[in-house]
Symmetry: C2
Subunit: 148 residues, 2 copies
DNA sequence: CTTTTTTGTCAAGCTGCTTGCCTACTGGCA
DNA sequence: TGCCAGTAGGCAAGCAGCTTGACAAAAAAG
């Protein structure tokens, strides 16, 4: 592996990641959720099944609990989530998606699928599957960082 | 291409990009440049050949000239770059790498090569080359965004 | 020469995060 | 049961990195 190939790896990987994020976000905005940020999507993936506490969300997003709390403030103000009392822990509060939050989550999934189809059209489905599998072997199973 | 495969694409691509950035940055820090940020590397790639003006740098980084100017302030304070008078344009100033700036650039290249070798060890060189080539076909030739 | 555009910087402000501190509540332990 | 260290989450303040707006100096266009 020559040095210039290593440089190329960095460039193309980052460009592809940026293009994917931008594409998904554009698709979500086009579906009417123009007050959403890419970071919201990362939160939604944690909240989607059954909700989560602020601490859970903070750990998932790799930020402080305060930052997670502020993000939930914003999401609640925009009608994507709501805070509920936690069923068993009186200290904690359960953050759950509203119907609008679910709709936005579905929109993001559709946008991601659309982007994947576009890329499948470029490479072919089989080769894109290989690419996903290879990236999966390279990517550590740690946290996603919603810096976008 | 099923929807869950599209979701997987997003996750693994972002994880891989994060891992690469983190790995390169860790390598740069380990080589003694502990006051550098990943964003600096993106600036260096533009400054490396023969320097650049603030406007050039701002366009390359996709930020305002003011932001680029502030970044150069920081880099100059840390000894990575210096401002010179522009040879032909009296308004502009040419920002060039210092010797320390060049050393940091080389360190980043080494760290990137090291990361690529690690990944080549996982996938094999040939398959990593295919991955780079495929990503290159997917990634638009636009600007890198140094948000990391 | 006059006018318009471009360059870099000063100043102010915004956003998203951090740290420090606090109260309410939990769960282990005597 | 009562006590107390640990945990959850919100308030306040601060900081880093970016933006917008305005400006003087120089270049380019007329």
């Amino acid at each position: 592996m020559r040095d210039d190939e290593a440089q190329a790896l960095t460039v193309v990987l980052l460009r592809a990641a940026n293009a994917l994020i931008d594409g998904i976000h554009a698709g979500v905005v086009a579906r009417g959720f123009d007050d959403s940020r890419p970071a919201h999507g990362f939160a939604f993936t944690r909240l989607a099944p059954d909700g989560a506490t602020i601490s859970d969300l903070a750990a998932h997003l790799n930020v402080t609990r305060q930052a997670a709390s502020q993000l939930v403030d914003e999401l609640a103000a925009k009608g994507y989530v709501e805070r509920r009392t936690h069923p068993v822990d009186g200290r904690a509060r359960l953050v759950v998606l509203t119907e609008r939050g679910w709709a936005c989550t579905r929109a993001a999934e559709q946008a991601a699928a659309e982007q994947a189809r576009t890329w499948a059209g470029v490479l072919g489905e089989d080769r894109l599957r290989v690419l996903i599998a290879d990236l999966a072997r390279l990517a550590p199973p740690g946290r996603l960082r919603p810096v976008w």
